[in-house]
């Protein structure tokens, strides 16, 4: 070995003695990870930042209940329109006073129904599927934001506490006229009649 000159490196001084001693700048079994004082402070700050994010995720999802979509049901996309399929006649249905379910069918390049009206304060469970390609389903000013994937039924729930127009926008590319694909939800304030009737 001593004859070979290594063109790459500085001449290496081989020390015959103690092979196990850690060698400066090289590899060592028992070298410690050294963390600079400020770096360790910085890491603690990072830890706190991430901790705050983590806690807020836990609080908002488990205490406040802002849920993500999960696994609900599957459906054969070629049978979406068959009689008996809940998506054959999509639309709004009242389940109990103030509680609704809304079935939406997505297809290029429209949602069915195009428009629904719900009263203020209505709690609506949305069920959406696609009969062709992927679509998106985001209701403006709400936390309803879900992918619509053929073969799957997407579901999320929302309580409409503010009156007015909401837009459902398709936010996944679905072809040439993707940018025209949207629907509307109108949240109606109680009319005077109904309001006074409710008071009696």
């Amino acid at each position: 070995m001593s004859e070979q000159t290594n063109p790459i490196e500085d001449p290496v001084v081989e020390e015959a003695q103690d092979q196990s001693a850690p060698v400066e700048g090289g590899l060592s079994e028992d070298a410690h990870l050294h963390i600079d004082k400020y770096e360790s402070m910085w890491l603690k700050i990072a830890f706190i930042i991430m901790g705050v994010f983590f806690l807020s995720v836990i609080v908002s999802s488990f205490a406040i209940g802002i849920q993500l979509p999960g696994a609900y049901a599957r459906i054969d996309p070629t049978t979406v329109n068959d009689p008996g399929s809940p998506f054959a006649e999509p639309g709004l249905r009242e389940l109990a006073p103030g509680k609704y379910e809304a079935y939406y069918r997505a297809q290029i390049w429209q949602f069915t129904p195009r428009e629904i009206h719900v009263p203020l304060g209505a709690e609506v469970s949305f069920y959406v599927t696609s009969q062709d390609v992927m679509h998106g389903f985001k209701i403006s000013d709400t936390n309803v934001n879900v992918m619509v994937i053929p073969g799957q039924v997407s579901t999320l729930k929302h309580t409409f506490d503010k009156p007015g127009e909401y837009k459902i926008i398709c936010h996944e590319y679905c072809g040439q006229l993707h940018h025209t694909m949207y629907a509307q939800i109108f949240v109606d304030e109680p009319t005077e009649e109904v309001a006074s009737g409710a008071q009696n």
Binding site: I8, M50, T78, V148, H171, H178
Partner: protein
Amino acid sequence: MAVKSMTAADNAAAPVPVPLTEQDLAVADRIAGTSIFLGASALLIGVTLGVMQGLEHVGINLYKYVQPWVATYYHGLTMHGVLNALVWTTFFIVGFFTYAIVRSLNRPLRYPWLNVLGLLVMVIGLLTAAVPMLTNNASVLYTFYPPMKADWSCYLGLTLVVVGSWMAGWGYFFTLYAWRKEHPGQKQPFIALTVSITMAMWQLATLGVAAEILFLLLPWSLGLVQGTDPLLGRTLFWFFGHPLVYFWLLPAYVSWYAMLPAQTGGKLFSEQLARLVFWLFLLLSTPVGFHHQYTDPGIPQAWKFLHTTITFSLAFPSFLTAFTVVASLEVGARALGGKGYFGWIRKLNWGNPSYAAQNLAMILFVFGGIGGITNASFNLNLAVHNTIWIPGHFHLTVASASTLTFFGILYWLAPALTKRKLFAPKLALAQAWTWFIGMLLMGNALHLLGLHFGAPRRTMLGSAPYASPDWNPFLMESAVGVTFLAISATLLYIVLIGTLFNKKSDVEVKMPVAEPLNPSQSIPKWLDSWTPWVFGAVALVLVAYGPMLYQLIRDIELTSPGWRVW
């Protein structure tokens, strides 16, 4: 790097180090130059399409002038995503890495033919995919979600690009392995190690998309099976999709840690932590893909939450990077007489376009990083998923942190490869700043449009019936940014093409290499060994993906026919 602990026995057995000759360098540099040239050419088309998109959003429709080359907005958007995010990045990275690894090891490529073959396969793949893509037969965007069905040749071509990049990686692994045999007991040189870690991460990550294409998309687009399972396809895509972003980012980190400090008189602040960071990326980059599927049906919340947790731990290597890199640069600025808490910043090498571009890239990455943590935050994601906030985010990351860094690297690498002087360095400096300002404006505007108005991404906003006048100020801000970017891109190609035709220079440009600040500090063995990290990465993927993938595959339903909707 002087002394090492090796036993006499090791010594006797070690093969003789192979010297690096001019000829070896020429081979590596030919590969690097070709690859980067192709990447930069793809980017030229890509950014042009980007400018067209930004202008369409304010009602300036340029598509009518480019018929039939760019048939629709979405045809253009597909090419924009593919050419920029897949082609430019991959080809640049392979070129840069090939150049860097032989210098770092001071050793020729172990099997140069393997790296040549890799590039060849990438080029064949690129040409194969280009045909359907250019002819509007594959306008499925760069994520090619089924059941939109592109021409089969598009899937095949993309696969070949990936396979070619695998071969490039194998070439590096063999080279590093040979070096280790020749230098028993020595620590692996930092650049060669981090290049190889990046490629190892890439091998693991691309298994997802390879499986998607080989088992689902190719048989289906060839008509061998009638239907496909869109959720499974999407899941396999995102298995690859998140580590893909680290594949874009880690080469920039290699430069920030190991090269950039040397360009401003600095030193690598902590080599130990820098190594740790790369190992952590190998370990954690892949098992996080469900954070792209938070709003997907068919995947239980618990799995999504697990991926949130792993994603959050992935923030630490980036926090560490921020500290170490800034400290490494500060060392340089203070050595040059910089003073004060922040005053030293002025002493950085701002006059040098290569340096300035990369430092500006880092600044944009701070915003990109914060936005990224928001995106990853489980239900917070509901506010921004698939809104135009998301392109706002990744134009600060891949299109700035990575791409602007790559421009900075090019400002020394192009002269190094061509042996010509950089053409018009002042223009190069202006290029870096205009890109910075342009991305800042466009990024800011798109973030706000997404967050406040829920404006969707991947959408021809200038023609959307639901677009509201309230969006206009932000769309205008974005258009101003796009204008800066158009100027910047023009400057970039003036500088690059100018360099290509500049006169030969006798001054040899070398790869900048940052020395460690504390050269006598030893590296613990566990920061130099592959086994624990590779096994750890595979194990974590099995835990975080195994059960869900098993279930999706067990319950596979090939019920979705293919669609051509463009």
